[in-house]
């Protein structure tokens, strides 16, 4: 091989490596609002351009959400908050299962929501937080042509070097809070295992048909 070619490809590899390292560093220090914006735009871009998703392929949507969105969520914290008092009574194994089932449920729900809403744009509200803050809310708004906008707020916590979301508040409705009554009731009637079981049953079935046909 021509020495020049080797050198140039080496240079490309080096540049790529450098880019990787730098983006890695940049991400570690990425501000929460920048993170929300980047991830949202990323996902929206894919949803709008992927032909499979445009055709309504839910598995593909789920795949995208799993790989692009899920890593930025702290599912353990979400689950602990939704389970409430019962969380500390659960064994580590039960906790693990709860997180797993809750995550599956949320991703499934979210991907079905994506089948319905596609022609939307997101506007990002001005963000301010103390530099030392470890708990912040990033406010966004979904704008749909000819309809009232929907507020979507993300609550994020600092986990190590990264920001991770642990609640989504849609039009004032906190996702985590919304599951709290339900989880409490399940634990009261069937214990932690009862809750795990109903979550698993819910996840195993197809999206349920409406009752009373």
């Amino acid at each position: 091989m021509h020495p020049f070619r080797v050198q140039s490809s080496l240079r490309v590899v080096m540049a790529l490596l450098a880019a990787l390292v730098f983006t890695g560093v940049a991400r570690a220090q990425e501000a929460p609002d920048a993170l929300v914006k980047r991830v949202s735009e990323d996902v929206l871009q894919i949803v709008k351009s992927d032909p499979k998703i445009q055709a309504g392929d839910r598995d593909r949507i789920r795949e995208v959400l799993e790989s692009k969105l899920a890593p930025h969520f702290d599912f353990e914290r979400m689950t602990a908050l939704a389970v409430g008092r019962g969380w500390r009574q659960a064994t580590p194994e039960q906790q693990k299962q709860l997180v797993e089932q809750f995550k599956t449920l949320l991703v499934r729900t979210y991907s079905n929501a994506f089948v319905q809403y596609r022609n939307e744009t997101i506007s990002y509200k001005p963000f301010r937080a103390d530099p030392g803050a470890t708990d912040v809310t990033v406010r966004t708004e979904i704008v749909r042509p000819g309809q009232s906008p929907v507020q979507i707020d993300y609550t994020l916590g600092k986990k190590g070097n990264e920001w991770k979301a642990y609640d989504v508040i849609v039009g004032g409705v906190s996702l985590v809070t919304n599951y709290r009554d339900e989880f409490n009731a399940q634990i009261q009637s069937g214990g932690i295992d009862g809750l795990i079981k109903s979550l698993a049953a819910k996840n195993a079935g197809p999206p349920p048909a409406p009752p009373a046909k």
């Binding site: 729900t109 079905n112 309809q147 004032g172 409705v173 599951y179 009731a185 399940q186 009261q188 409406p210």
Partner: protein, 241 residues
């Protein structure tokens, strides 16, 4: 004949309510301090499922399937314009001059240039809907929400918001403008189908998301209303216990 059919339906409904909990496994007693009448509400929820599932939901689905989108939008806008009139009353009661101005502007623009409200020109021009109702007005006056209520056909509510609905029935512009009773009733009917159709998508989401739709809808409703009473300001830290 019609009456007998109705009676039979009521009988089925009553049976379903008595047999209650076939569909869901309701936990004993109240699962939230906001819902002291939970056993009653759950029965009403089951009644709603039967009446709605056999009657209103299929009609709403058929309406959505058979009506071209532009016509649906036109009908929706028409009824939203009427809601905006009710919103004006509430803006004034809340002494929210900003919203009152917006809503009055909306109704004038949409009624005159939007062909009686069928085209929502005001929204296109960026005039936001105030979307205020009597329940919100009472809430802003400091009246607490009171116990949660599930009202068959209407849906989730509270004692405060339910009272607001009664006030709303008196404030409805249709009852003043449309003198001919049959025409008015037809308009009410279309308005209700439009209202029911709006909920179809959200309903799918609840079916997907909730283990027990009753608790899920309850918490979502109460959170949403509290948020609207606060005018979208952040919640006071941890209002749940």
């Amino acid at each position: 004949m019609m009456q007998r059919a109705l009676l039979r339906m009521l009988f089925v409904v009553a049976l379903a309510a008595l047999g209650g909990g076939c569909a869901t496994v309701p936990p004993q007693g109240a699962t939230s301090k906001d819902d002291p009448f939970e056993p009653w509400n759950r029965a009403m929820y089951d009644v709603h499922q039967v009446v709605d599932g056999h009657f209103f939901k299929p009609i709403a689905q058929a309406y959505v399937a058979a009506t071209p989108q532009p016509i649906q939008t036109g009908i929706h806008n028409f009824f939203q314009n009427l809601d905006d009139v009710v919103s004006i009353v509430n803006d004034w009661l809340q002494w929210d001059l900003n919203r009152a101005g917006n809503d009055m502007g909306r109704v004038m623009i949409n009624s005159f240039f939007g062909l009686g409200g069928i085209i929502d020109i005001a929204s296109e021009a960026g005039i936001e809907r105030g979307d205020q109702d009597f329940g919100l007005t009472f809430g802003k006056w400091g009246i607490p929400q009171g116990p949660y209520l599930f009202i068959p056909v209407i849906g989730p509510s509270t004692v405060r918001d339910g009272t607001g609905l009664i006030a709303r029935a008196y404030a409805s512009p249709l009852s003043y403008v449309v003198v001919d009773v049959p025409t008015r009733n037809i308009l009410y009917g279309i308005g209700f189908i439009n209202y029911r159709a709006q909920a179809l998508d959200a309903e799918k989401l609840v079916d997907q998301a909730a283990i027990d739709p009753y608790t899920f809808i309850r918490r979502a409703y109460l959170q949403r209303r509290a948020y609207l009473v606060r005018d979208g300001k952040p919640a006071p830290p941890d209002e749940e216990e």
